[in-house]
Symmetry: C2
Subunit: 195 residues, 2 copies
Amino acid sequence: MARTTGSHAGITGPRVRQAALRLFAQKGYAAVSMRAIAAEVGVQAGALYNYTPDKESLLFDLMRVHLEELLAQADFGAEADPLTRLRQFVEFHIRFHADRPDEVFIAYMELRNLSPENFAQIEALRRRYEDRLETILRDGAKQGVFAIEDTKIMTLAIIAMLTGVNTWFRSGGRLSLDQVVAQYWDMVRRAVGAE
Amino acid sequence: MARTTGSHAGITGPRVRQAALRLFAQKGYAAVSMRAIAAEVGVQAGALYNYTPDKESLLFDLMRVHLEELLAQADFGAEADPLTRLRQFVEFHIRFHADRPDEVFIAYMELRNLSPENFAQIEALRRRYEDRLETILRDGAKQGVFAIEDTKIMTLAIIAMLTGVNTWFRSGGRLSLDQVVAQYWDMVRRAVGAE
DNA sequence: GTCTATACAGCGATAGAC
DNA sequence: GTCTATCGCTGTATAGAC
């Protein structure tokens, strides 16, 4: 069956999300209009509502998909020793976040623009990710491999430190991502008191 | 000379800045209208323009004053040993930032809403603050007190870690600020490889 | 599925009375 | 110094033609 002229099912949708991602990260959610997103895609503003019920859903879906992918990939088997799992976490976190600067930026900066219900969902996903690290730290502390006074603080401190890479790292800069990973692994290993 | 009714020179100005600070931190700069700020102060929107030439200047001044105060207080004399100065930095940073959550939040989150000229000024102030820490680390490394591979990365990693406290710390919570300072000092001391 | 047109509210900023 | 009133514009979202 011939397609109607101007029909782009399965093409425009992803382009809308990609345009929203880029613009939200660059200018901030509240500063981006639906007209601006539509212009980036090459359609009129009204057409966007074939792909999202409203503007906030666009933001929420970007965050949710990002965090679900993060959780899907953040699998550090409990069979390995805690030091190895911690090293895997550090490397994974840095690389995953360096690969998705726009998504990471939005997921941290635009939480205020979610409804309470959507906010709670996003926070729950983030909490599940933090728990992956906390479990590693707790296992290591129990086995005497790490010397940690408070695993919750250590968890938040490590994540803040690692996520901070995104504020300055640029591919092609002074340091390669391999070097960055090595340096942060050094710092984390020392911070948890591992040999 | 009798004051004109409704005249509040020297009173309304600070109240405007305080209302803007609170609302910007809570809802985000772009989501706050001049009318909302005026309502919080208890005046009409037009009256705000007696105190600021425009909305962006309000944001810029809040950031600039915050960072200038940070720099004014962040004085760690070069006479003491690097380990003592680093400890002072860690304690100062955590306490100063915990005292001003709204200012800190704005100064990190709303940089995108500044004109290029204003952005450059704010970034220069922040850079001067980072240099205070980097100098301490460099001195310590030179003297062999610290074992640091790259002082620039260590600087950014420490600041990210310490500033991250603001995302979760609440006065009256499980931990006192004294305990938080002690824990982070432990982590930083280890991370720089100090005895 | 996209268009044009539009409803309706809100925006930053200014002018002029008091 | 604050008010009221207003300008010109932009915002999200919807309706109906094609």
